[in-house]
Structures are given as C-alpha cells and as structure tokens.
Chain length 315, copies 2
C-alpha cells in the first residue's frame, strides 16, 4: 500500500525536498544545491538520485511511494510541461515525463507559486478553504489561485500571475516583464522600497527612513513607529494591492486570501493597509473574505507539491 | 441508455428550454413564461411540468434522459444552491435538490452567465478551448470563466463577475451594485450610452449622435461612419474593457476571449477597440489570446446548461 509521497520545490540556488506520509505529516526534509550549469540538465537527475537515496535510507520500497510532486519557477501547464524557466537554464519540456523516465515513479509538476498556494490550503493558514488566493510578496509578487480545490493553471501555466496585472497607467518605469504599471512594481519588497525612495526624493520632509537603509522591512518598522512618510508609502502599497485583490476576488470569488513572502513578516499591519481598499471596491459576493498571513513559510512549496500528487492519485 | 439532456435558461420574463442529444445537437427548443409571483415558487414546478410534457410528446422514457441543467440569474454555487435571485423573487435555496425532488431526474444548476460561457465553449465560438473568458455586454456586463474545462464558480457562485470589477477610481456615479467605478459602468450598453451622453454634454462639438437617439448601437454605427466623438467613446470603452480583460487574463491565462451580448452585434469593430489595450498591458504568458464574437446568441444558456449535466455525469 502506498504510504509516502515526496514534495520537491526547485529554486534558483537550492532544491528543497520533503518526505510526507499521505496525511501530510512531514517525516523528513532536506535540501540539495540547484546545479544550473549545462542548461540545467543535472537538476532532475540530482533530484531523482536524492529521492532514491532517501528511499534506501528509510528502508522504504518504491511500491510504498505514491509519487513525486514538483514545483518549479516558471509556467507549468496541467500536463507538467514547463515553458522557459530562464533562471534554471531550462527551455520547454515535460518535467513530468522526464522525471518519471529517470525515476520510475509517478510525477506531477506545477508552477512554484501555484503549488505553494496549494500547500497553504492543505496545511497552512488556508486550511478549510477550497477557493483561495495566495499572494507571495517577495523580491517579486507571485500568486497562486485555488478554485474548487484545484490549482488554477490556465492554458499554458500562467494562471495566478498576480504580479503582472496592470494597476497603474501613469507609471513611467518598466517592470522586469517589460510592461509598465504592474502590481509587482508597487507591492513587492522591491516595489515598496521604490515607492519609499520616490517619496523621500520628492521633498525634504522628516522621516525615520531618511539617511538609513530603505527596504520593505525598514518601511514597515517605521510604520509601526507612526512615521508619517512611511505610513503614506504603506497606504499606497495597500491601495494597489487591495484594489488589485478586489478585482481578482471579483473574478474567482474566494473565501480566503493568504498573504505570504518576506514582506509578510511585517505582520498583521499589512492586512490593516490592504483590507480597507479591498472592502471599498470588491463586489458584495466576495466581501466576506478572510485575510490571513501565510504560516508555512519556505515549506509551502514542498507541502503543495506533495498534495499535487495525492490529488492526482485520487482522480 | 441515456440519450437525451435538457438545458434550461431562466430569465426574468421567459424560461428558455432545449432538448439535446448527448452530442449536443438541439432536437427541440421552446419557451415558457417566468411566473415570478408568489416569491417565484411556481418557476421550478412550471419547468418540471414542461419537461414532463416534452418527454411524453416525444415518446421518450425517463431512463433515456441524462438529466436537466439549469442556468439562473444569480450566484449559484457548485452544489446548485442559488443565493438571492432578486428579480425572480427567490431567496436562498438549492435549485438542484428542489427540482430533483419535483422531477425525479438528476439536476445541475449554475449561474446564467457562467453557463452561457460553457455553451459558447461547447458549441459556439469558443470551441476547442478549455480555458476561456466569456463577456456578455448587454444592459449590464456579465461574465463566465472556464478553466481547465470547468466553470469557475467560486465559493458562493460569484466567480466570473466581470461586470463589477473596479476599473475607475475617479467615478462619481454609483453602479447598480452600490460601488463606484465598476466595469459595467463603461462597457455595458448602458455604460456606452452614459459615456456618449457625457461627452456630448462636455462640449458643442459636431457629431452624428447629437440630437438623435444615443445608444450603444447608434454609437457604434457612428464609429463606422468615422464620427470623431463616437470614436472617442469607443476608445474609452475599449480601454476599460481591454485593460480589465488583461488583468483577468493575467489571473486565469485563457486561450480564448468570447465577446457576446447585445453590444456585440456591432461586430468585429468592437474587438478592434478592445485588443490594442489588452495587448499593451497583458502579461506575456497570455498575449496569444484569440478574441472572438459569440455565435450562439440567446441559446448559449440552454447549450451550457445541458453541458453542465453531461460533465457532471462523466465524473
């Protein structure tokens, strides 16, 4: 009988791996380096080798393993095909088929942010929900959407790309994606820093932020000390993210919105700045949403990857 | 063996019904009045009676009927529970259970706009797609989203409520929903008329529209005659809808966007005004979307309702 499942989260520098029982209890977790040389051709063989080693180490048999779930940093469609994961050196190919061929175990793959959303729904702060939006506020803004208990993948794996929805016509600087006025330019750690630096340059007003290091962390630390300039920055951040989330919620009608990523370490104060804007503009059918902070941190990906396999097994 | 399926589309004044084979060929279609008196308590019994009559008339047996799909004008969750369909006089109850009890046949229910989207995907201009956005530009703006071949319902049936996403901070007039700056205020027939009247009042500029009837139809007729003022109205309409659709596409990553409803009778010119704005702001993963005009017209609902039952049967 199948008792175990592996969850794998491929990042640009390390691959996180987890061994779970089918109830979602983590039995072991570890990391290996992501070897991006030679067009990333070593990444999946390294993962296969690491999983085989763990199976031997634990005295498990392959028959006891339901399969391996993989989250990867790029668009992954529902067949497990990734399209251009530039920072891994990857082009377009099937993660599912490739890893199944190497490993001889069932594999499911998804976009890392989508998979992390599934993890938060399964074992994190989204528990109990089948319809949620997860936003990851880090260097960029990532997103994952679960609708009816399933990851919203879209036709080519671009579902849940919240970071690049257009929120500002007047923006003059370009986003990394090439467009102007993307959510990521205002709501990521980088975006918050940019908003703060812009505001500091506009005038000579006093602020705790002036002269020191300006980052999403120092901005929200200053907000907690009631620094007026920092609070204006937080207000701008909250307006862009709250308005944007109200639009997304109007489309997907969730019951839960999970806020995660490095910026979310600022705590509940984030939600205090987002929610009023959300409430003002959201359609009444999505007004009763629960805003929560993510709780799984960097482990959301391995949990969600494991869940991806268990869900596929059930079908 | 089950050979037939009924599709029902409940409107405020008439109920449309269709009898289909399981391949989706329409064998018969007809209408009955929607009796909204007595809190709409006669609507489902009337539908049941009409379907029973049709079964007798055609010499079919109940065993030959897969089931009955119903589209209704209000939020309907995936269990078939409708919440407050005000214009039918309905409160909150299960359409599925209620009609199953009266009729003794399997029933599935969904929101009318969502069901119409499924119809366009199955037998209309969305054929071949599993991931599409359908927008209905009528008196209001309705929407339906299909993701991975399934209707995006959301937690309470509010999925795809495109008409009430927030698109304009500066709006001073209220939308019917109570918010300000909803998509519906700019992209519906009513919205286009409002934009045109506003622009006519702003100046004394010459326009074909001046003095005559102003409607979505006359505006787009004037656009086809290169009327400068009408073209500016079309440009505003296209910007709101194109930008909004780019956001929705960023979230759901579709391959097809279907434009339907009364306003879509203006033809391809609509798409000419929407697409440049969409292309400018959409995330590159959703740039290759196909824009098409809806082809099923008022029959999209009965087709989609029938499909809802067939899909449920397959699970």
């Amino acid at each position: 009988m199948s008792k175990y499942v592996f969850g794998v989260d491929i990042g640009g520098t390390t691959v996180k791996l987890g061994l779970f029982d089918v109830e979602g209890n983590v039995l072991d977790k570890w990391e290996i380096p992501t070897r991006t040389e030679e067009a990333g051709s070593k990444i999946l063989p390294d993962i296969a080798e690491s999983i085989r080693g763990k199976i031997r180490e634990k005295g498990m048999t392959e028959e006891e393993v339901v399969g391996v779930g993989v989250g990867a940093p790029g668009p992954v469609n529902s067949d497990g095909v990734i399209r251009m994961a530039v920072n891994l050196g990857w082009g377009t190919f099937s993660i599912k088929e490739t890893l199944e061929n190497i490993l001889g175990l069932p594999v499911m793959a998804g976009n890392d942010a989508n998979v992390a959303a599934l993890g938060e729904m399964w074992k994190g702060s989204g528990q109990g929900s089948n319809d949620l939006i997860a936003v990851t506020l880090g260097t960029g803004v990532g997103g994952g959407i679960i609708t009816g208990g399933r990851v919203l993948t879209g036709v080519a794996g671009g579902g849940g790309e919240i970071g690049h929805i257009h929120v500002e016509d007047a923006e003059t600087e370009s986003c990394n994606c090439g467009n102007k006025g993307c959510m990521e330019q205002y709501a990521s750690a980088t975006g918050i820093t940019r908003l703060a630096n812009r505001k500091l340059a506009e005038s000579q007003r006093e602020s705790i932020l002036r002269g020191g290091e300006v980052s999403a962390k120092t901005v929200f630390d200053a907000v907690k000390q009631k620094d007026a300039l920092a609070m204006e920055v937080a207000e701008e951040f909250g307006k862009y993210l709250g308005d944007g989330l109200s639009v997304i919620a109007g489309v997907v009608n969730p019951d839960t919105i999970v806020i995660g990523g490095g910026v979310s370490k600022a705590g509940e104060v984030l939600i205090d700045y987002i929610k009023p804007h959300y409430d003002k503009n959201v359609f009444h059918g999505s007004r009763d949403v629960r805003f929560v902070l993510a709780t799984l941190g960097n482990d959301a990906g391995i949990y969600g990857a494991a869940k991806l396999v268990l869900d596929a097994e059930k079908k």
